[in-house]
């Protein structure tokens, strides 16, 4: 059963140095507040797993949290490159970053296999691509009926998966809607699950076939309003595109990056203070 705790407590208790950690959310509902908290708590040697390591992992990598990255597309969506991600791979700053690189379809399949209790995933993938030459986790398998050769990759089982969601009820049942991405699979593939939410409500008011994570598959629920900023929470606030553009400048040089992180993340006690400090107030939208 999910317990309702502060994000600081959840991160301290459930995420340890050396863990494999998946912060998921496909453009939507990216758990930035949780990423910041792991940076503040100086988590080290993490294996970071994420289909699209965008700003959140750029920040964690640049602050030295990661030893390894499992991913399929590393860019600043709609803007360009991730400078800290690039710097780590190209020059090893601030620490060498081993990478395990896949395609989106494969990452999704690996999470699905993990959620499904299967040791591996099968897909029609990578035909003619150089990726399998550089990733030993991509093998092949023969169909026992047609003889076709398909790609096979091992299931993902993060030590901890961390999500942001719109809301939870008092029992800890979580509702996610809009672009639901890979969140359900990331949660069900993981050993432990932390969910930050915009709010706690009496009644989830979920449609019958909505994406609901029952309380008993969630370890901790933490209330962090605006916790997906600069990503967005459908029905609550929009994506802060201006911040994503500004990040390109902030993160381009190591010095400006460190100064910004030291001031707004390391120098703040929690996400609420960060939002005031950075001026990154999520604008609550009206059609909620």
């Amino acid at each position: 059963m999910a317990t309702l705790v502060s994000l600081r407590e959840a991160a301290a208790e459930l995420v340890h140095d050396g863990d494999s950690v998946a912060l998921e959310g496909f453009t939507h509902l990216i758990p930035f507040a949780a990423g910041h908290e792991l940076i503040r708590q100086r988590r080290r040697n993490l294996t970071l797993i994420r289909m699209t390591p965008d700003l959140i992992y750029d920040q964690m990598i640049g602050m030295g949290c990661a030893a390894r990255l499992i991913f399929s597309w590393g860019g600043n969506p709609g803007v360009g490159s991730l400078h800290r991600f690039r710097d780590a791979i190209q020059t090893g700053w601030p620490a060498p970053l081993a990478i395990e690189e896949h395609s989106h379809a494969d990452m999704a399949a690996r999470y699905q296999a993990g959620a499904s209790g299967l040791p591996f995933a099968v897909m029609r993938g990578y035909v003619g691509s150089d990726l399998p030459k550089h990733n030993k986790k991509i093998k092949s398998i023969e169909c026992p009926f047609t003889g076709e050769v398909l790609a096979a990759t091992p299931a993902l089982h993060p030590d901890v998966s961390i999500l942001h969601a719109q809301k939870a009820d008092r029992k800890g049942n979580v509702l996610i809607y809009g672009i639901i991405g890979i969140q359900k699979e990331a949660a069900l593939a993981a050993k432990k699950v932390i969910v930050t939410v915009e709010e706690i409500v009496d009644d989830l008011d979920a449609p019958t076939n909505a994406c609901v994570l029952p309380s008993w598959v969630v370890s901790c629920v933490c209330v962090v309003p605006g916790g997906a900023h600069p990503s967005y929470a459908h029905g609550y606030y929009k994506r802060d595109n201006a911040f994503c553009v500004a990040w390109d400048g902030i993160s381009r040089e190591r010095e400006t990056f460190r100064a910004w992180m030291d001031r707004h993340v390391m120098g703040t006690a929690d996400f609420a203070e960060y939002r005031r400090s950075s001026g990154a107030e999520a604008k609550v939208i009206s059609h909620r």
């Binding site: 690039r86 999704a108 029609r124 993938g125 003619g128 639901i180 991405g181």
Partner: protein, 252 residues
Amino acid sequence: MTIAAARWLRNGSVCFVGIGLPSAAANLARLTHAPDVVLIYESGTIGAKPQVLPLSIGDGELAETADTVVSVPEIFRYWLQGGRVDVGFLGAAQIDSFGNINTTVIGGSYDAPQVRLPGAGGAPEIVTAAKEVAILLKQNKRTFVEKLDFVTSSGYFERSQRSGGVKLRGRGPTTIISDLGVLNSDPATNELVLTAMHPGVCAEQVRNSTGWKLRVAANLEITPKPTARELAALRDLHARTAAAHGTAAGAE
């Protein structure tokens, strides 16, 4: 370029759309000659009908205007791999003369690259699962290259050389649409051949902007000029987008 790409898209076709230029062109098509084109974004939005261009592949506008929003594993398994997509509409960092795509590394080696690019995303499976693929890319000697530093997603050469007996359902990247013209794969050799130029462009200019010895079709065409309707629709789309985002997403 956006207009030429938009024209290429047939009404009613099911299109798996990449962000940026492909998304701009696909939506322009939807707002002009192809109102019933079905736009699928890898974020899981099926039948998205955005009024402003999305900045990211998972903008809320896509979810709000879609016929339905499914999970990311579902979009790749049931809809792409399941063979439901007519057209993959993609960007790239580099292509070669057989339509192979690089979006991974430039220079150096994979382990120690000079420039690290974002990586594969959905492309390796889009190029083989969609019935046909069009690639949108600005043309110069750094983007249209003799030899790729890395094959992220395979075009024709690699398909024949390396598919290893795996059945490929699609026809692959048949069409490249650049800011200079249109290249199509020669059915006999699979090599990309210049088949059309945009108004005001000459063949010499296209050759000089291509890293390989570019073949030019005998019946080289000139892309018809943008119509007033097309230009107005594109201008309005960009204006709405700029007003919504404070920036011109996908603008040329």
